[in-house]
């Protein structure tokens, strides 16, 4: 556990699974793959929420739907939950077609953004609600609830009233309420967005650990790319009702499929390519050499230069691309230093680890070098 988190918060919000995993036998067996084909969904006449989505989510995967608000990620999640019916297309979970199956007959549970804990019930009854609706006898319900409470270390929270819980506690109860039903798939709709930053980053790690222990298929919705990268096995980036890219966090971050994905993943250093020629491209910030596999026939597109790949210093290693720039701004962040540079009239961001080398000052003229292997060509 991170020691940057105050003891009292850490104490209340520890969701690290206990050594024993009670649901393990069941859940590893139950983990299901999801297959989406040609999903279309429209609201009203003009709003297209999903515009032909095909997606395969593997069994036991932590899969994240990432995108700005209105991109269709929540609609997709709601279709998985059965709370929304697609206009066209099919949904299969664990090999069974679920497109028209109502939510109460799907072995899929959701952790809602507002947590949606029933105000008229105690925490214990909230946890037991799904089991009760499935017709499990009271004794078995109690046993399962105790088990999950133990597993997620809810402690005495189980005997509280819902209105006595803090945000973080509600989040854990909502999670436990969904998990206790041992669903084939767990859906999480921005479950951490209402929490403050410290608690949030702690829960990100712990939620991911929990998923690995359970081996359950998690589908997670967020608009926060850092959150998505920390937690996910794979990420689907959505925009305008279409999937822009699917891949592991490193793929999506390092090799974004297009300019939208690159910008959404937080990349600022995107420079228009004017002309390609052999291994070389002509860009806004000068002539650069790329690896042969980055070359395309078309001359449009963008060059992505990740700030951490830029080296500032007089000597340029053999085969590196070289630029001349001026430091316009410097942000000292302790472990690293961020520079806002001006190259060829363009703003270029660079990040240097603080390893004791020379720190440049505003106004300094610097030589910038970058290895061709680190340059990525991004489609428009």
């Amino acid at each position: 556990m991170s020691d940057t988190i105050p003891a009292d918060i850490a104490d209340k919000t520890d969701v690290t699974p206990a050594a024993e995993t009670p649901c393990q036998d069941d859940s590893t067996r139950k983990a299901s793959a999801i297959e989406l084909r040609g999903l279309h969904k429209r609201f009203g006449r003009d709003t297209v929420a999903l515009d032909g989505v095909d997606l395969h989510i593997q069994a036991g995967e932590f899969f994240t739907l990432l995108g700005p608000s209105g991109c269709g990620k929540t609609t997709l999640l709601r279709i998985l939950a059965g709370l929304e019916e697609p206009d066209q297309g099919t949904l299969m979970v664990g090999g069974k077609e679920l497109t028209e199956v109502p939510p109460h007959r799907r072995s899929v549970n959701t952790v809602f953004q507002s947590y949606a804990l029933f105000p008229h019930l105690s925490v214990r009854d909230n946890l037991a609600f799904g089991l009760k609706m499935r017709g499990l006898p009271a004794a078995k319900r109690d046993a399962k609830v105790d088990e999950i409470a133990d597993f997620i270390k809810l402690g005495d929270l189980v005997d509280r009233r819902v209105d006595q819980l803090s945000g973080g506690q509600r989040q854990r109860i909502a999670l436990a309420r969904a998990l206790v039903c041992e669903p084939d798939v767990l859906l999480l709709d921005e479950p951490l967005s209402a929490l403050d930053a410290g608690l949030r980053s702690q829960l990100q790690v712990e939620l991911q650990r929990l998923q690995k222990r359970l081996g359950m298929t998690f589908v997670f919705v967020t608009h926060d790319q850092d959150e998505a990268m920390v937690m996910s096995d794979r990420i689907a980036v959505l925009d305008g009702g279409n999937i822009q890219q699917v891949g592991a966090p490193s793929d999506v971050y390092e090799r974004p499929a297009n300019a939208f994905v690159a910008r959404f993943m937080g990349h600022d250093n995107l420079f228009a390519i004017h002309r390609s020629e052999g291994d070389w491209v002509e860009t806004e910030i000068g002539r650069m050499r790329l690896l042969p596999e980055e070359q395309r026939d078309t001359s449009d597109g963008w060059l992505l230069v990740r700030p951490e790949t830029l080296e500032l210093g007089p000597e340029v290693p053999e085969g590196y691309n070289r630029m001349e720039g001026i430091v316009r701004e410097r942000l000292y962040r302790g472990s690293r230093i961020e520079y806002r540079l001006e190259v060829n009239g363009q703003v270029v961001m660079a990040v240097a680890s603080n390893l004791g080398q020379r720190i440049h000052r505003e106004g300094d003229e610097v030589t910038i070098s970058v290895c061709p292997e680190d340059l990525v060509r991004v489609a428009a």
Binding site: E85, T90, E97
Partner: protein
């Protein structure tokens, strides 16, 4: 794999939604239509029919009832009904004004008291209205009867003739109306005072200095929506009041409600009574409409009026 077309899925969803709407809303809507809308429509129809034997309506259609209501009878024009109508208007106006004058300081006073006392104070104002209207009015009959201290005081001051008592009289009706409707005005005014933006009042005191002007420019406009809601709650039922004038008013204190009721309970003239009811409805809807218009102009928004 089954390709489900957009069309059939949409239509199925719409059909199930409509069925749901029908199932939930129909019983109540049908109840109100059958047992209130149809009867009211029938009553309106009766107003245009001829008065038959035993006061029951008959064909053909005629405007006789409205002429009678305006005072034209077999013996020519008499002002009786017109007086009743004017009296109803006057009593409504007078009692509403008096209720405002009493309720305004009371509502303000409650908001100046400590927070834990306020619900109790409001309850204290409202509780008398939980008792049946007939009993409350009967209480006033006890108080205003000949020989009671109040009646003797009035006698001593020369306000009434000896051994007459303070009721039946128009004064007693006004008193009864004010008593009856006071809580209906206090509640919305209290709500308005409670929401009062004190920063505005302080700013006003800062700028104008005079308390009277601060009240007029900063306090009064903010309480206006509550005041309007209160006026609707008081004036509309006061205009149609039946019990109070019947018990406290006597023949010379009759209001429109009594005129209407007499035409039905005595079995004397349904069309005339129905015409009176139409008049009352028109007044009600004009009142509601006017308040809505003024309320909208003030930006009071959609304050629910119950």
């Amino acid at each position: 794999m089954v390709e489900i077309t957009q069309h059939t899925m949409r239509r199925r969803a719409v059909v199930s939604e409509m069925r749901h709407l029908l199932f939930s809303v129909t019983p109540g809507a049908a109840w109100i239509i059958i047992f209130l809308v149809l009867p009211s429509a029938y009553l309106m129809g009766v107003a245009f029919m001829t008065n038959g034997p035993y006061g029951l309506p008959q064909m053909p259609l005629t405007l006789d009832a409205f002429e009678r209501l305006a005072g034209f009878g077999f013996l020519g024009w008499s002002p009786g009904n017109l007086y009743t109508l004017l009296r109803s208007l006057w009593q409504t106006l007078l009692s509403t004004t008096l209720v405002v004058l009493v309720a305004y300081p009371i509502a303000y006073y409650i908001t100046t008291c400590r927070e834990r006392w306020r619900p109790i104070m409001l309850l204290a104002v409202v509780v008398p209205s939980w008792t049946n209207q007939v009993i409350r009015t009967f209480g006033w009959m006890n108080l205003l009867a000949p020989g009671t201290p109040l009646a003797e005081l009035a006698e001593g001051l020369g306000l009434i003739a000896p051994n007459m008592g303070l009721y039946p009289s128009n004064f007693a009706v006004t008193l009864g109306l004010v008593y009856n409707f006071l809580p209906f005005m206090v509640l919305p005014l209290y709500a308005a005072f409670e929401k009062l933006d004190t920063a505005q009042v302080e700013a006003a005191q800062d700028l104008y200095a005079s308390p009277a002007r601060a009240f007029w420019h900063a306090v009064f406009p903010q309480t206006l929506p509550g005041l309007l809601a209160g006026i609707v709650l008081v004036a509309i039922p006061a205009f149609g009041m039946y019990v109070i004038p019947e018990l406290l008013g006597g023949g010379k204190g009759m209001m429109l409600g009594n005129l209407v009721a007499t035409q039905f309970s005595g079995g004397s003239n349904w069309p005339l009574g129905a015409a009176g009811a139409i008049l009352m409805l028109i007044a009600t809807f004009i009142g509601l409409f006017a308040m809505r218009r003024i309320g909208k102009r003030l930006g009071g928004g959609e304050e629910v009026v119950i």
